[in-house]
Symmetry: D3
Subunit: 243 residues, 6 copies
């Protein structure tokens, strides 16, 4: 269990993060990622084939992701996605996680394999999509490390993500559920270890925002992601594949 | 038919836009929006009820959107979404169009009604989601104008959208399909008439981008959207509900 | 826009027809077919393969059709067919359109290709299925004309369709929506340019009809179809592939 | 078991018909209808409510039908319709059976009830849709007879159906499977006991037909249906509700 | 029609069983199995391929089953399984029937073929799953007998099934619907001709049961199944493939 | 993490069990149940309504369960159940878990509420259905304890489950995945704290079993369940609601 979030967390502070590698032994990458009370199980599986839409003779591989909230991760209970329709929000999130991982993956070096990273939310307290990305990177590194043929994980950099928003007129980093509900603007930022943008998604439903607010949020996000990259590096220790 | 896109369009120029109001007479708002060869039929329908998930006693209304590409809008032909699953891209786009319209709608003043704006793409040549937003606003104004009880359309501002990207290392406005394929970064920006952001969505799949590139793209977008707002104003003429 | 339907249209007169070829440039056959206020976009796409159920080594091709009403084509708005179930009426119509086109197609001469004609109804005012057939033939001719290998479109004759019915006890040609609702009997007739029947479908829900009424309706239909064939011929001009 | 079809059946002869009323006791109308080797179990159930789309305060009732071929009714085995999609042919047939029954039903006299007639094909040897209609009428009469409140079955006439076609250039009545495959034109005719048309559906896929052929087929059908009505009358005996 | 169930059937007596082989001629095995008023049509079809999940080069075959209740088999009418979801009960039953048949099948001797046994319930009065198993065995023997290459049906023994339960505190054999509703415990037992268990499924929803009650039910079932095997043997006559 | 399973576990020994209550705080009952490497997260949610099929005026409540294996719980990865069809095995298991819990629940004392227990398998190493039942009981007790109105949890006894089988001809308790694959017979037994049967499900696919083997398996299961009940009692400590 991570430490309890202090009530006096400042607007530019991340919630406490706890990373448990090899949480289960049933698949090659298995990371329990906790950020405050938000808890995501990221498992990475390797398959020696590529999706049907890829050229079968291609030498390149594929990295993809699925995202799901368990019914008990929220109160009231969330119904399972068994209707044959993945809801729009779920679809958006899993596409985002997949693109973020591919932005740092060297698919040619991966060879004709598919790595699927499943992000199953055990407890949801805001920031589940950004937690999924930051945790998925660790699971991906672990799974890539089990492929015998590869000298090094085929990744060009790490990737991490954080949410920022405008709450009560002020920019705030790493919103929990309560803050997310109160936010007028919600932005998710995905960056590489070198500080380059992978995705910037800012939304002001029932509200709009100014250039100045956008700049302030991007600055907060940049600082938070630098911290998360340091936490990823510590969790991977000797398995950190980057300089 | 809009004029053909000149080959020498500069990097900060919009494609020619043509707006045909009252294109069909079967529903209260019906706008054929053409931007270069991209053609979207935006129809707005009014229903005197609200979605089941809203409080039935609520006094507020709802504005929503659906997006669809006709099979003949691309070559090769696009298969219809009849599998019971709306694909992820379609779902993302229609959620974006709906949020953009709601950002400028006064749902309390609308009263317990639902306006659905359908954006059916007749021909796709890049920028269909931003064309949908800019055209949907006109259809929405026209449909709201047919509701007898309302003194003025319950809108606080207009909204318009444009795409920008990095092509061959340079920021480019309003990408057509060929440019979109060549772009390393693709960004969609939605703004109000007053120049406030509604959405910023920048994606660098298989690429990343810097702070400086982000700023350059946002500047181009701001200029393009100001032009589109002027075009909307001209198209609505006396029906323009804003100052 | 077609001319407005005169109130005094006689019982054996067609509504005004307008045919716009090459309405969009995204696919090889693209026809906007208007008949009174009924407006159907017929687009024909060519694929160099045949459906999985055909013998893969076959030398013959296939012609098929899909039919769809856009949500804004009616008031109140028609919900999209996204439930995974094509409703019975839609399924019946698209099967009828496909059979009608195949009745005049020389599938052996077409070679191992599939032509799909999509009939998307932009505005519905009665007679959408017969308008789809008459318009689809034009789109089909245009699409076949773009296949390099073929000396002439592999068609043995043209095909056109019209509705007839019994309204207030009298046979009436080409029913609009209001007449369709009032009709005791509704019949759709599909014929070739030579005046041979392809389909005869007469239905008297909540009513029945006599031999004499059947004969009167068939006679009206024959006359209407002859007119429609002349209109098709004029629209295709030099591209008319028949004597 | 019906007698075996003689090889020398003339072109205007029906196959032998056998009707077993009260085949099962689980629902109020249960008829095993056999026509040659074609065998359909028609069961009619009564529900004291009307479909949701009907005005709930309406005094009228509803009659509807479902059609299904059992997997073992053909060889090779037919897959079950469990994909969530009723195939187009099935949908067409059950709509046709429902319309045919409603053409002779007095829905006002029925009162706010729904009668559903299920036509499950146990063995398919051509003409399953017309057998379904002719058998369904008997099951409907039996089910209506069990409703305590009704003085007489709320039916204005009987209804029966038969197929006709052009085989080897000649009109033929009541096609079996082998004849159906060989037929250039296939027509289904539904008529009342008084000889009025309810439905006429003639299809010449991969072929077309002349006015003269249409007349010949209609004449054959009229004779066959008159015979079928006599067979229905005999099967119902004292329960025959018409003059 | 089977004889009517006598009111005084003793607790250890089966209901009267009637087996009609070659009920339809459309597939190689076709058995109408009646047990009291419960009526199941069991049809067995042979396909010269194996399911996709089996090794395509395998020499072994597969035996599977599907189960379905016709809408008219119960009162009130049972809705068809057309939603794309097979309900849990149906799925459980068809898996049970398939496993039971495979327990006595020699899949290697069958060779690379699939036999599908469809159990369609025409009338349901309790015990439909056990009737399906006992009848399916006969249909399977008949279908296997039509495969030219096989010297003998590739079966190692027969299989039959019966239900038992605790009604009013007493163990009872072969429950009809009324008894089933009243039973505190419901058990289905599947055994081979030699008296070995294939399946034992005892359920005490809203109740529990003791070791002694379990033993009493198993003893009743053993006796009933011995009787059913004798009935199977008589029905198959000279086609009985076992000693 | 539970202790590693010793290689020399005897045939009548359970794998080590570890129960973590309040594993997440997002719902009232949340139990991580580990049995050897099999890990199931059981979360119980309370809803103040009853399912639509229950009489709305009823005073009774409902207890139900859902079961799901996470994609990463097995290697190779298990695909998600998002096709709109819950597979047969999943459906069987969640029905079994639900029935088992209801066998000890006092639905009248529960009042008009629904408790849903979700059993999400994080790692699968055999026995996931029986682990789900034993863990679900703890989550249910915890969730019932949070309902303010209830004096005591409305349960009449505890319930626990274990698997047994015949491996290499010998009866074995609590099969792990490797043993399960090797087993000729697989049986799941569900019992109350008092030692009464709730369910007995024994299956010998591709094998059969004798009376003597059945008795030996039932004896092993009885012993294992008594141990599990003691473990449940210890885990609940002062919250154990039974004598």
């Amino acid at each position: 269990m991570p430490r309890k979030t202090p009530k006096d967390r400042s607007a530019d502070a991340l919630r406490p993060v706890k990373i448990t590698r090899r949480y289960t032994r049933s698949c090659p990458g298995s990371v329990l990622y906790q950020c405050g009370r938000t808890t995501v199980l990221c498992t990475a599986s390797v398959d020696d084939s590529v999706p049907p839409w890829m050229n079968r003779n291609a030498e390149r591989g594929w990295v993809t992701a699925e995202y799901n909230m368990l019914p008990g991760s929220t109160n009231p209970r969330k119904r399972r996605d068994r209707s044959g329709k993945v809801d729009g929000r779920t679809s958006e999130i899993q596409r985002l996680v997949g693109r973020s991982l591919r932005a740092v993956a060297d698919l040619a070096a991966l060879g004709p394999r598919t790595v699927t990273v499943d992000c199953d939310v055990l407890e949801a307290d805001g920031g589940t999509r950004t937690a999924s990305i930051t945790g998925a990177l660790i699971a991906l590194v672990d799974a890539l490390g089990t492929i015998p043929d590869l000298d090094a994980p085929p990744l060009v950099d790490t990737v991490a993500a954080v949410s920022v928003g405008i709450v009560d007129g002020q920019p705030v980093l790493d919103l929990d559920y309560e803050q997310d509900v109160a936010a007028a603007v919600d932005m998710n930022v995905v960056m590489t270890g070198e500080g380059r943008f992978v995705e910037v998604q800012g939304t002001g439903e029932e509200a709009t925002f100014t250039d100045r607010q956008l700049s302030a949020m991007l600055k907060l996000a940049r600082g938070g992601i630098a911290e998360l990259v340091a936490i990823q590096r510590e969790a991977l220790g000797r398995d950190w594949p980057f300089q």
